[in-house]
């Protein structure tokens, strides 16, 4: 029996993709509905909908400014009902409607007229349009933080070259986290202000380091995200160098932490050469890199935790042991890491790999094998990677997208430890621990894998880290103080 696919196109009706995805999920959950999506008709989205078997003639003809509703259902009635529900969802005024009816500027120029002293444009529109908005912003004298992804490297480079010429900072594209002047932007945590500045090509890297610095009694002056590709050979660290300069000139900042994946050799050399001339001590964490020759006044560290400790001049290692030893059953030899934070996944790989375990990952650090279709060893998955998030929300926003992977790990009789990160703060889900606990209570069986977690966040965050930790512990989840410690706990749990 073939499904019924129907489309409805709302011309010139724009809604942001997060709102649309929330509605899509609701519609997809209706009886006899196989699949549903509501998307703006950009070429990329048309391809996604076509692949999902959701594109009919009407939708295929839609333009980038049109909203397509696509449903596939087992009966025509169900498809029609789903379409009606989708349309009803679109008509529903958003919460706090009164305020939303207030006049909002349509162009950046008008926005600047209403706020002439604005200094930052925070951009989260679809990637096809993000660079154009950022270009306008820097030319109008603003700095730009681009949360959007799906921007080509060529466009990123062009934008950053122009920004450098104009003396404006471009954070991103794909920049999830920054803290400027104590203000968390996008996905960031409420950390105390202090004298440590952070520059990061990795959002969760910045989050973990800034939270740990807070946890250890220090504080952050500014944390500047530069986007995951800034230190690639193409872009060559343009924003990283500008951010370092800005922090070097910043009166509040006395020490600087730089966190990134290992850059290519010539980019790393350029950055280190810059740091050699810096007056402020800098801690470099190229997560997954080998030992490098560092200039004076610069320290290389190998984990996020070590970066936070070094920033505060603390001893390198203070391995925290679990209150009671954790032991996985002997016939379950594997660790399965299910991460929402890419850098947290990388840090866990480094811990395991440095103990000579055979580790695989979909986002491998140097030395780790790229995971294939089947995997019999220790598997570290970055569930925030593009392959999992195309057309879906990020697991930090929507923890349910991790449910299938957790269920699979629980059902795998070779998995002895599930290693998991819980990332909170602004931008993140309101209660990720709550969701995890509820899911585990339904699906966990006796003698299954041990579950070891860490919570990246602070008690100042809206979700409150202590409350999240308590929830996890009440459901027999072992909670380590840091992501690195969690990986160490997993390691000892499978050792005979």
């Amino acid at each position: 029996m073939s499904d019924f696919v129907i489309n409805d196109v709302r011309k010139g009706f724009y809604l942001d993709s997060v709102a649309l995805m929330r509605m899509s999920r609701l519609v997809a959950g209706m009886a006899d509905v196989t699949e549903a999506a509501m998307m703006m008709g950009t070429p990329a989205n048309l391809a996604i909908m076509s692949d999902a078997g959701l594109l009919a003639e009407a939708g295929a003809a839609a333009g980038g400014g049109d909203l397509i509703i696509g449903v596939r259902a087992t009966t025509n009635e169900a498809a029609e009902a789903a379409l009606a529900e989708a349309n009803a969802q679109l008509q529903q005024p958003t919460a706090g409607g009164g305020e939303n009816h207030a006049w909002q500027p349509r162009t950046l120029q008008t926005a600047l007229k209403t706020m002439p002293d604005a200094n930052l444009a925070l951009i989260s529109v679809p990637g096809d349009f993000a660079v154009a908005e950022a270009r306008k912003a820097i030319r109008l004298g603003l700095n730009a933080m681009i949360f959007s992804d799906n921007v080509s490297v060529a466009e990123e480079l062009q934008l950053k070259l122009e920004a450098r010429e104009l003396g404006r900072l471009v954070m991103g594209p794909d920049c999830g986290t920054s803290i400027i002047g104590g203000i968390p932007l996008a996905f960031a945590n409420v950390v105390p202000r202090g004298e440590i500045g952070i520059v990061g090509a990795s959002g969760t890297g910045i989050q973990e380091i800034s939270c740990l610095i807070g946890q250890y009694g220090g504080g952050i002056s500014h944390a500047i995200g530069v986007g995951g590709r800034d230190l690639n050979s193409e872009v060559g660290g343009i924003s990283t160098l500008m951010a370092l300069q800005a922090l070097e000139a910043d009166a509040m900042t006395s020490r600087i932490v730089l966190v990134s994946k290992p850059p290519p050799k010539h980019v790393a050399e350029k950055v280190l050469k810059h740091l050699a001339a810096s007056k402020k001590p800098t801690i470099v964490c190229f997560i997954g890199a080998d030992q490098m020759t560092m200039p004076a006044n610069t320290t290389q560290v190998f984990s996020l935790k070590a970066a936070a400790r070094a920033a505060l001049n603390m001893a390198a290692d203070d391995r925290v042991e679990p209150s009671a030893p954790i032991k996985a059953s002997a016939d379950r030899p594997n660790i399965r890491g299910l991460f929402s934070g890419g850098t947290l996944c990388a840090e866990a790989q480094i811990v395991l790999h440095s103990s000579a375990l055979a580790v695989q990952s979909n986002a491998p650090v140097p030395g780790v094998t790229r995971a294939g279709e089947t995997c019999s060893s220790h598997l570290m998955l970055d569930l925030g990677d593009d392959q999992y998030t195309r057309g879906k929300p990020h697991p930090m926003i929507e923890p349910t997208v991790r449910d299938d992977a957790i269920a699979a790990a629980l059902a795998d009789d070779k998995v002895g430890v599930i290693l998991i990160d819980v990332v909170i703060g602004y931008g993140a889900h309101a209660d990720p621990a709550g969701h995890l606990v509820e899911f585990l209570q339904k699906h966990r069986r006796a003698n299954g894998p041990e579950i070891i977690a860490s919570v990246t966040g602070t008690d100042g965050d809206p979700q409150n880290r202590s409350a999240q930790v308590r929830k996890l512990m009440s459901a027999a989840v072992h909670v380590a103080p840091t992501n690195a410690d969690a990986a160490h706990w997993a390691l000892s749990a499978i050792q005979p």
Binding site: G12, Y14, D16, V18, M40, G41, G63, G64, G65, D66, T94, W103, Q104, P105, R106, T107, L108, Q109, T110, A111, T114, M115, D117, A118, N119, L120, A121, L122, I123, S124, V125, P126, D128, F129, V131, A132, E133, R135, K136, A137, R139, L140, G141, N143, F147, G167, L169, I180, G181, I183, L185, A186, S221, H222, A246, L247, A249, D250, A251, G427
Partner: protein, 477 residues
């Protein structure tokens, strides 16, 4: 540390313009951070070609455009329009010859003219004595006996059908800053009138009276004094609820007040004076034609500023809508004109309506009419643009497609916000916000006249075409 080193970011409180996810601005707002949420939608309606062209035409690469637009705005704001005279068209426009008919809108020939325009053409041919009756006038027109040109080509503007011919009296508005003069016929009043295609004896009789009596009297009165300075008069009219397109009752009254003493002083006959005063006093739209000549006088010095993307004229002939842009000179960019949406006089409906028509959109081009809707909440209701309380929103919305605001023309109920001035084709294409025009609606059959009032949007296609031409002219293709 100076701003240079910190990019103005680290050493100042963070003030954010949020483009995209509302959640981010809500969270910042909750933390007490100053944040402005934008009402973003894909630029150019998601058309990547135009979005790309726009981004390349923007700011630094387009410094030339911004500077040229600043100069355009400066010239508009510096204008000093004064109503100075009424003179025969033959004297005002030396190029105007016998059997030459100037009409509203971009160029058009008889074949493509709509009903009311044809009605006006035949009527004016009879009025000028070129044809014995309407039928023979129509035959002559079809046989090419008349030469048609847009008013805009001859420093003139005309409402609706916009007939300007050699034997009519024209009001003269002089821009005292630059010395240029613009011309417009005298408003005929409401009801059956030539501007709506009316052409029977009553209509032609009124035109003769305007030519032989009222026009010369008004001219004498104006020459008697220093003329009527219009900038301040319009400023007062705005505070009294006029937007100068659909509502001119305040400005018409203010004009009458300014002219009455000189009209009396120069009158030779009390009965004729009384008739002239009653004609002005009985016509709420008397000022419209003055406002139009004023608009033309303000915009003409803005033509031909290299690289400027400011619109210098918007106009329609009942078939096409056309715009001209400063940086592309006198070239017309046209698209099929749209149907107005609005309210109809009892007994009429949109089935009777003619597509939008007239040079009166020069009023929106200078920031009045639909652009000043906030000053005129009553009009918003009348033309069906929304509730009175939404009138201000229309002005704010239009301010997003203009280069600036007019500090002398302000709207009290909007905290003295200046009227939106200097339409930028880039911003129109980028936002997809088409200029909103307040307009009268003519019956589609010739000779019937006005059947309603409403609003109409300028077609975006004109602006897209103009943008491409401008991009080419500044070397961005």
């Amino acid at each position: 540390m100076n701003d240079e080193e910190s990019n103005g970011l680290l050493n100042r409180p963070v003030k954010v313009i949020n483009i995209g996810l509302k959640g981010f601005s809500e969270e910042l707002d909750r933390q007490g951070v100053d944040v402005t949420q934008m009402d973003w939608s894909p630029p150019a309606g998601g058309n990547l070609k135009f979005a790309d062209l726009l981004s390349r035409l923007h700011a630094s690469m387009a410094v030339g455009i911004d500077q040229a637009n600043a100069e355009a705005l400066r010239r508009m704001l510096a204008a000093d329009p004064v109503l100075v005279d009424v003179i025969p068209a033959s004297e005002a426009i030396p190029g105007l010859r016998d059997k030459m008919i100037l009409h509203a809108g971009p160029p058009i020939d008889w074949d493509r003219m709509c009903g009311p325009m044809r009605g006006a053409v035949t009527g004016i041919a009879v009025f000028e004595g070129w044809a014995a009756d309407l039928d023979s006038a129509a035959t002559m027109a079809a046989n090419g006996a008349f030469e048609f040109h847009p008013n805009h080509k001859f420093d003139a503007v005309g409402p609706m059908t916009g007939m300007t011919t050699v034997g009519q009296p024209l009001m003269v508005v002089e821009n005292r800053t630059t010395g240029n003069r613009s011309y417009c016929t005298i408003n005929e009043g409401l009801g059956k009138v030539m501007r709506f295609g009316g052409n029977d004896d009553e209509v032609l009789q009124r035109l003769r009276w305007l030519r032989d009596n009222f026009g010369p009297a008004l001219g004498r009165a104006l020459r008697h004094g220093e003329g009527v300075p219009l900038k301040a008069l319009v400023a007062r009219g705005l505070t009294m609820g006029d937007e100068m397109h659909q509502r001119n009752v305040a400005c018409s009254s203010l004009t009458l007040r300014a002219l009455a003493p000189a009209l009396a002083e120069t009158a030779t006959d009390n009965a004729a004076l009384a008739k002239a005063l009653a004609f002005i006093g009985g016509n709420d739209q008397f000022f419209l034609n003055i406002a139009m000549a004023m608009g033309k006088a303000i915009m003409d010095p803005v033509r031909d500023i290299e690289s400027s993307s400011v619109v210098t004229a918007m106009s329609r002939n009942g078939t096409d809508f056309g715009i001209r842009v400063s940086g592309t000179g006198d070239r017309w960019f046209t698209a099929p004109v749209e149907m107005p949406e609005g309210m109809y006089f009892p007994g009429y409906s949109e089935a009777d309506a003619n597509p939008d028509m007239g040079d009166s959109t020069i009023v929106e081009t200078i920031g009045l009419g639909g652009f000043a809707m906030g000053a005129s909440p009553a009009v918003a209701g009348f033309v069906g643009a929304g509730t009175a309380s939404e009138a201000g929103k229309i002005t704010r919305t239009m301010s997003q497609i203009t280069v600036g605001e007019n500090p002398e023309w302000t709207i009290p109920s909007m905290d003295y916000l200046g009227t939106a001035t200097g339409i930028d084709v880039r911003l129109v294409v980028e936002t997809g916000l088409a200029p909103l025009i307040n307009t009268g609606i003519a019956h589609k059959e010739p000779g019937i006249g006005q059947v309603g009032a409403g609003v109409v949007r300028a077609p975006i296609a004109c602006f897209e075409e103009a943008l491409e031409a401008l991009a080419e002219s500044v070397g961005v293709a």
